[in-house]
C-alpha cells in the first residue's frame, strides 16, 4: 500500500475535521432552534400557565380569563391543602395511639373522605370553568387530559394518601 503524499494527507485530515465541525455545528443549531419554544415557556413568569396556553392553542383573551380563574382558585386550593395536611396529622396521631378501631378513628376517616370529596368537587368545578373558556374541541381535550391525571384511580386525588 503506497503511503499518500504529505499535501494529500493534510487535505484529507482537514476534510475529516471539517466534517466533524459541520456535524457539531448542525447539531447545535438545530437543537437551539428546536428547543426555543421550551426555553420560552420555562422563562415565562408562570411556566405552567404558559404551557397551558401553548398546549391548548389559547387566544390572548382566553388565556387572560383562564389566568383569572386560576388565580381565583389558588387560595381555595391552598386552604384545602392546609385542611388536608391537618387532617392527615390528626389521623396519624389517632392511629399511633391505639391498636384497635375507635370512634375517633372512624370519625377521622369519615372526615378525610369528606375533605377528599370536597377537594374533588372544587377541582372538577374549576376544570369545567377552564374548559368552558376554551374553544369547544380544546375544552374537551383539556377535560380528558386533566380527568385522566386527577380523577382516575392511582392518580393525584384518587391515589392513596
Amino acid at each position: 500500500m503506497r503511503f499518500p503524499a504529505h499535501s494529500s494527507m493534510k487535505k484529507g485530515v482537514l476534510l475529516l475535521l471539517l466534517g466533524l465541525a459541520v456535524a457539531a455545528a448542525a447539531y447545535g443549531c438545530v437543537y437551539f432552534v428546536c428547543t426555543s419554544s421550551a426555553r420560552r415557556l420555562e422563562r415565562s413568569s408562570k411556566p405552567e400557565l404558559a404551557w397551558l396556553k401553548e398546549e391548548f392553542n389559547l387566544s390572548d383573551s382566553e388565556f387572560q380569563r383562564i389566568s383569572e380563574l386560576h388565580a381565583a382558585y389558588l387560595p381555595q386550593c391552598a386552604e384545602m391543602c392546609r385542611q388536608v395536611e391537618a387532617q392527615n396529622q390528626r389521623v396519624r396521631a389517632l392511629l399511633a395511639a391505639t391498636n384497635q378501631m375507635t370512634a375517633e378513628i372512624q370519625s377521622a376517616i369519615a372526615e378525610s373522605a369528606r375533605l377528599r370529596g370536597l377537594c374533588q368537587r372544587n377541582m372538577l368545578d374549576h376544570f369545567y370553568q377552564v374548559s368552558r373558556t376554551m374553544p369547544p374541541a380544546q375544552g374537551r381535550r383539556y377535560l380528558e387530559w386533566v380527568q385522566e391525571r386527577t380523577f382516575l384511580p392511582s392518580q393525584g386525588m384518587m391515589s392513596e394518601p
Binding site: M1, R2, F3, P4, A5, S8, M9, K11, G12, V13, L15, L16, L18, G19, L20, V22, A23, A24, A25, A26, Y27, G28, C29, V30, Y31, V33, C34, T35, S37, A38, L41, E42, P47, E48, L49, A50, W51, L52, E55, Y73, L74, C77, M80, C81, V84, E85, N88, R116, C119, M123, H126, W145, V146, R149, T150, G156, M157, M158, S159, P161
Partner: protein
C-alpha cells in the same frame, strides 16, 4: 513526423527489446535458486486498520465527490441528532410543565413529607 513523440518512442523501444537476445549462460541451479528465494521471501504483512484509514484519508477522501458526500452525510447526521435530541428535550419540558400545572391545582398531588 518526429520519433520524439511518445507513441513512436514506445514502438521503437518495443522493436529494440524484441530484437535483444541474452546469450550469456545462466549460472548453475539458477532456476532452483530463484524458486528457493521465492519460497523464503516473507509473506507481505496485511495492512493494519490504522494504515488503511490513513491511506483512505490521504487518497480517497480528498476526491471532490467523496469529500462532498462525506460532508453531506455528517451534516445530515448532525441535523438528525440535533432534531431528535431537541424533540426529546421539548417533550420532557412540556411534560414537566403539565405535571406542574396539575400539582398546583390538586391538593392531593402536593408531595407530603
Amino acid at each position: 513526423m518526429s520519433t520524439n513523440e511518445p507513441g513512436k518512442q514506445d514502438e521503437a523501444l518495443g522493436r529494440l527489446l524484441q530484437e535483444w537476445r541474452a546469450n550469456a549462460p545462466l549460472p548453475a541451479q539458477f532456476r532452483q535458486a530463484v524458486w528457493r528465494r521465492v519460497d523464503q521471501a516473507p509473506a507481505p504483512a496485511a495492512p493494519s486498520v490504522w494504515t488503511v484509514i490513513t491511506h483512505w484519508v490521504g487518497t480517497a477522501l480528498p476526491r471532490p465527490a467523496l469529500a462532498a458526500s462525506y460532508l453531506a452525510i455528517l451534516l445530515t447526521l448532525g441535523v438528525t441528532a440535533g432534531w431528535t435530541r431537541a424533540r426529546q428535550e421539548t417533550a420532557r419540558v412540556k411534560g414537566e410543565l403539565g405535571e406542574r400545572y396539575l400539582r398546583v391545582l390538586d391538593p392531593y398531588a402536593v408531595p407530603r413529607p
